[in-house]
């Protein structure tokens, strides 16, 4: 019961943060620009002699770039909205009034975590759904497996959220934010290095990417999502930045799930042990 009360109040707390509404506003701006881009591109194609096959590939690549932008926005928004919830409430003393109520510390932390999971889910659903809908209604293209793709992006957000919670039980708000954004940067760079290694079959470069993905698997999850959503032809022709050059396996998705559970477990343990 206490977990759900905490989840509910955290969802409401998160939904009231300016950063969420700023992210949604930015998301709205993104959808507007993306829709206009698709509209103009589709219009230009109608007046050109570009073959239908090529038109489809170009619009598909645009859709993938759009979805990648949503992915980045979702992960950063999840991190920034949640970074203050543990560290900030410990620093300000807000947590004292809650932690002395008859609920275990793990219930407080897991409740808060569930609240942010729900908020991230809503954000991903709105932004992902909007982008997919624009791609279909304006550009006439549909991602291959949009539900799997959306779920993987959601998983990526939950990974970032769990890591943010974990560091939030140790460090201040600012330090936690810097560490998590740094890890996301490592994952981003590692993912692209691994992708680049596919063109030259460079094993050493690939190793750097794999290690980066093991340190923070968020970007690897996105690349799996891209693989799921991209049309097989675009992927194999290497027509988009997310072509099938180096595809993270299902095992990497499993690793991300285990990774987030371990991060959440460490957060629960350390929050339960530390002084408040």
């Amino acid at each position: 019961m206490g977990v759900w009360i905490m989840a509910g109040i955290t969802f409401r707390e998160a939904a009231r943060k300016k950063i969420l509404w700023t992210a949604l506003l930015a998301g709205g701006g993104f959808l507007l620009v993306f829709g206009l881009g698709l509209h103009f591109q589709a219009g230009d194609f109608r007046n050109s002699a570009v073959p239908q096959f090529l038109r489809y590939q170009v619009i598909s690549a645009m859709l993938m770039i759009g979805l990648y932008t949503v992915d980045l926005l979702a992960v950063v928004m999840t991190t920034l909205t949640s970074v203050d919830t543990i560290a900030g409430e410990i620093t300000s003393g807000t947590i004292h009034a809650i932690a002395t109520k008859p609920l275990a510390r793990w219930q407080i932390l897991v409740g808060k975590w569930l609240g942010f999971v729900a908020m991230s889910g809503v954000y991903v659903a709105i932004m992902f759904g909007g982008t997919i809908a624009e791609g279909y209604w304006i550009g006439g293209v549909l991602a291959q497996h949009p539900v799997q793709g959306a779920l993987l992006v959601f998983l990526e957000c939950v990974v970032a959220l769990s890591v943010t919670f974990m560091f939030g039980t140790w460090f201040s708000t600012l330090s936690s934010g810097v560490i998590v954004l740094g890890l996301l940067g490592v994952a981003f760079l590692g993912g692209w290095l691994e992708q680049m290694s596919g063109f030259t079959e460079g094993s050493r470069l690939a190793m750097v990417g794999i290690v980066s993905s093991l340190i923070m698997p968020s970007e690897a999850v996105w690349r799996r999502a891209a693989f799921e959503m991209e049309s097989p032809l675009s992927g194999s022709l290497q027509f988009s930045p997310f072509a099938d050059v180096s595809i993270p396996s299902i095992a990497m998705v499993g690793y991300a799930c285990v990774y987030l559970l371990i991060a959440l477990g460490i957060a629960v343990y350390h929050f339960g042990e530390r002084d408040l």
């Binding site: 109040i9 003393g93 807000t94 004292h96 009034a97 042990e273």
Partner: protein, 295 residues
């Protein structure tokens, strides 16, 4: 209990007992370890060594918190909530059923004088108003033990009186109140028992119901006070001072006053005035702690 932070001792050796149904004052200068001690009693911090019990169970027990209320120092909470929403939330966390909350929340808001502000969000509240709503959340589940950390800081005199009345009402219904306050005059007229701590150790304790019998300050006016006569007062007091005809000293017990008076007369002093005064808690505090300790 003992508490160290990175090798630095915050609470050296705290040993105390609070009787059920009393208002207990916890006093000490800044940095004496009061807040850390309260945190350990509430399970917010773990002692480096030692243990404590509240209501007969080890501190930090989750189930027993249903019977414990706590007002933290500088209470703050999600500022987008109204007082009623905040109390409903805390009531639900304490397991109070919604039917009871529907009755109890407006009554508590009225008790702490916030009815005119019931629809305002906490972000528009002053520090004193936040203290009031914090006090209400500590009482929402009618706890048996209530920890109040500086409950009157930020309150005006009327607000202090309101808190005092609420504390007494809680005691009258059988609750135990553990009160940490810097406002000694408040402690003096509210508490049943007071403990003074310094550097994480109990220095002394006073039963406020019998305190005037224990320590008395005397102001006398006398002539022919020889140095030997004043020195002889050390049998009853270590703080005798003479300024021309004015003699002041503090003695631990009122019972010794007739004997002191007889001594002064026998020593040749002409005594014109001999006035025992009740020692205020502030004087007692300074007497116990020593001056200039940053309190």
């Amino acid at each position: 209990m003992r508490k160290e932070f990175s090798g630095k001792v915050a609470v050296r050796d705290l040993t105390l007992t609070v009787r059920q149904g009393e208002i207990f004052g916890f006093l000490g200068p800044n940095g004496a370890g009061k807040s850390t001690s309260i945190k350990m009693l509430l399970g917010l911090a773990k002692p480096t060594s030692g243990e404590s019990w509240v209501l007969g169970v080890p501190s930090g027990d989750v189930a027993i918190r249903r019977r414990i209320g706590f007002l933290p120092e500088n209470f703050r909470f999600y500022e987008w909530l109204t007082p009623a929403e905040l109390l409903h939330l805390h009531g639900r966390l304490c397991g109070v059923d919604s039917g009871k909350l529907t009755q109890r929340v407006p009554a508590l808001i009225d008790l702490v004088g916030l009815t005119p502000h019931i629809h305002k969000r906490l972000q528009n509240f002053s520090k004193g108003m936040l203290q009031r709503v914090g006090l209400a959340q500590a009482l929402i589940h009618e706890p048996d033990v209530i920890f109040l950390d500086e409950p009157t800081s930020g309150l005006d005199p009327l607000g202090r009186r309101m808190v005092r009345d609420i504390i007494r009402a809680q005691r009258d219904r059988g609750a135990t109140v553990f009160l940490n306050s810097h406002i000694l005059s408040e402690i003096e007229i509210t508490c049943d028992q007071v403990v003074f701590i310094r550097e994480g150790e109990v220095v002394t304790s006073r039963d406020m119901r019998t305190q005037q019998e224990e320590a008395v300050r005397v102001e006398a006016r006398a002539r022919k006070l020889s140095p030997e006569c004043v020195a002889g007062l050390s049998r009853w007091s270590a703080s005798a001072q003479v300024d021309e005809e004015r003699l002041t000293f503090t003695t631990p017990s009122r019972d010794s006053l007739p004997e002191i008076m007889r001594y002064l007369v026998a020593a040749g002093a002409d005594v014109y005035q001999f006035t025992p005064q009740r020692m205020t808690l502030e004087e007692l505090f300074i007497n116990v702690m020593g001056e200039d300790r940053g309190f």
